[in-house]
Structures are given as structure tokens and as C-alpha cells.
Symmetry: C2
Subunit: 218 residues, 2 copies
Amino acid sequence: MAPLKLHGVPFSTCTARVMACLEEKNVQYEICPVDLSTGAHKRPDFISKNPFGQIPVLEDGDITLFESRAICSYIAHKYKDQGTDLLQHGNLHGFAKVMVGCEVESQQFNPAMGPIFFHTFIAPMRGWAPDQKAIDENVVKVGAVLDVYEKMLTSSKYLAGDSYTLADLNHLPYITYIMKTPHANLINSRPHVKAWWEAVSSRPASLKVTQGMTLGSK
Amino acid sequence: MAPLKLHGVPFSTCTARVMACLEEKNVQYEICPVDLSTGAHKRPDFISKNPFGQIPVLEDGDITLFESRAICSYIAHKYKDQGTDLLQHGNLHGFAKVMVGCEVESQQFNPAMGPIFFHTFIAPMRGWAPDQKAIDENVVKVGAVLDVYEKMLTSSKYLAGDSYTLADLNHLPYITYIMKTPHANLINSRPHVKAWWEAVSSRPASLKVTQGMTLGSK
């Protein structure tokens, strides 16, 4: 069977999220590079795949998906019986925790971490002055979310229990980049969050993906 | 079996989202009111249910969930064989579209609609001056998202195909409120979006829930 086609670039946080999921599930895929520098993601052939003009896009036969978290959910459901059980499939209590953990990432962690990442990595690349006020405000917000995680992680190894799931995986891209900055202290200053991050980031699938996350590297 | 307990208030957008899902699935539930005016959601007994101190919270026996979209996903999966099929369960192509539609709501629509709602309904209630610049900027963003929807809705009745799913339902709360304001034009000026909204909002489950959405009413 033809492998899945992932349109994106390995240094992109959202592409990396999907790659980590595919690696955890042992799903074969090929990367179809999208040249962001020439605006390939805004051209009609790409817009026909994702009308929002953003990477990544996954093509699985005649099924085309976009939005990285949607792609990860799809992969985790479709391949539920192979690789890492990212959904706690068949365990209602565990599944509930995965759903909650994923939405906490999406609605609490991501909206605060996004601006820090943008102003630390993307703005300088584009020659824009980083908005320090936005960074500072969002460092406080991320800290508040991580305070909740610190407490949760006193009673379980991972965010949705003692197994690694999509709730953890979805955090991989932003934290990988943030750990290259002084904001790494957000993680390192919280012992249980730090241990969790060490467990998450040292997984073979994580290591395979994060080596391609080269933004900000000299 | 004891009905599910939904801690929240019917006028809250996130509580209403979960109520609409429970109604579509014909699941019995009881509302356990949370007195936001006295800060009941910030007190230890509530924080023990949701460490972020936000409504709603769903208790299903010994399972406690928060984050409205997580609760809806849980309900849609747990009760997949009753009521409206909100996930296109058993149809991989349809399921993929539901996942994408849900994430588009979460990552594209919601971040733009949230500030409009906040500055139009919540800020005035608290005696704060609405931030007109934030409203104006986000009206443009919501418009861009709805332009994509307008195009998508030329080829299907709903956002994830010709059946009503969670991808549509998750939009119900914010649009219900926005339709009470001059921003209703965001919907009414786009014929396919308008027809979609009429189909979504006239469903019996939607009508039952939106009658309790009284914020901004005289």
C-alpha cells in the first residue's frame, strides 16, 4: 500500500506533531516538502488541499486532512491497534483523560505558548522586533498552566495517566523549541514537569522527529 | 443509572456546547448550577474537579471531565450508537472530516470569535470598556474563516459532509450570541453560511439549549 503523504517541513511545529504521531504508530509515510519561502502553501494546488493555506496536510489515499491535531486524532483512531496506544482505546476512564489532556493542550497551553514561540523564533527570522510584552504576559500564563501540570504529575507519570498518549505528544513541538531558550526554566523549575518532559522527549519517536527541528539553530 | 451531572450554567457558551451534545445524543443529565457571581468555580471543591477553575465539568460516575470540547468528544464516542451520529462513526472518510472540522472550529474560528464575544458581552457586564480594536481585528479574522466555510458549504450541507456532526455543533454557542448583535452580518452576508446556520440553529436540540442563552438579554 502506498505510504501516507505528509505535506510539510520537519522544522515546523505542526508538521513535527504529526510526524511524532506517525512514528509512535509505526505508520509508513513520506514527507512532501512545501517551500514556505516561495509561498508554495498559498498557491492554488496547495489551497485545494487545505483552504487555510497552512502546513501540514496529510493525504491517505483519497482522504485529505489538515490541522495537525485533527490528523493526529485520525491516525490514533485509524491505527488504534498498532504502535503506542495514544488514545487509551477500550478503557473509558483512560480515554476520557486523554480527551481532557488533549483539549487542555489545545485551549490552555497552546494559546499561551504560541506567542512566546512566535516572538522568540519567527519574528526575528522575519526581521521583526519581538513583542517583549506579549512574551512576558504569556510566560506568566504558561507558568500557570504548568503549575496545574506539576500537581497532576505528582499522581501520574503522564498527563492522562501512567501511559504516554496524545495528550503528552501534542506538547512535543513547542516545548522542544522552548527548551533551546532561557524559557526552558518554565520546565526545569518544576520537578515533576521536568521529569515528564525528560520521559516525553527521550522516546525514540520523539528523538527521531526533534532532530529535524532546526529553527533557531546556528 | 444515575444521570450524568453537568456542573455549569445554561447561559455559558461552554456549558451550552456540552448541553447541545447531550441533547443530540439523548443522554439524561442534570445541571448542577455553579454560582459564578460568588466565585464558586474558584473554590477548592470545584478546583478538585477542574484545576483550571472553569465551567463546565461533567461527572459520569467516577469519571470527571472538563474542557467542553473534550466532554463533547467523550459523549460522542461513549454513546456512539444512540442519538445523532456526531462522529460519522464507522465511516473513515466522514470521521476524518469531522476531526478536521472540529479542529478548524477550535484553532481558526474560536480564537477569533472569542475576543468578539468577550468584548461584546462580558466586558460590558463587568463595567469594562470594550476594546473596539480587538473587535474590529477579529471580525476580519472571523470573516476570513467564514469565507472558507462559504466555499466548503457549496458542496455539502454541513461542515463535515451532508450530516450534522460535532464539527457543526461546536459552533453553536458563539454564533447564537453573535446573531443577537450587528455582527450577525458575518453570517447573514454569506448565503451558504446563513443556510447552514439556519439548519444548525433550528434543530430541536439546539432550540432547547439556546433558549437558556440569555446573556445580553434585556
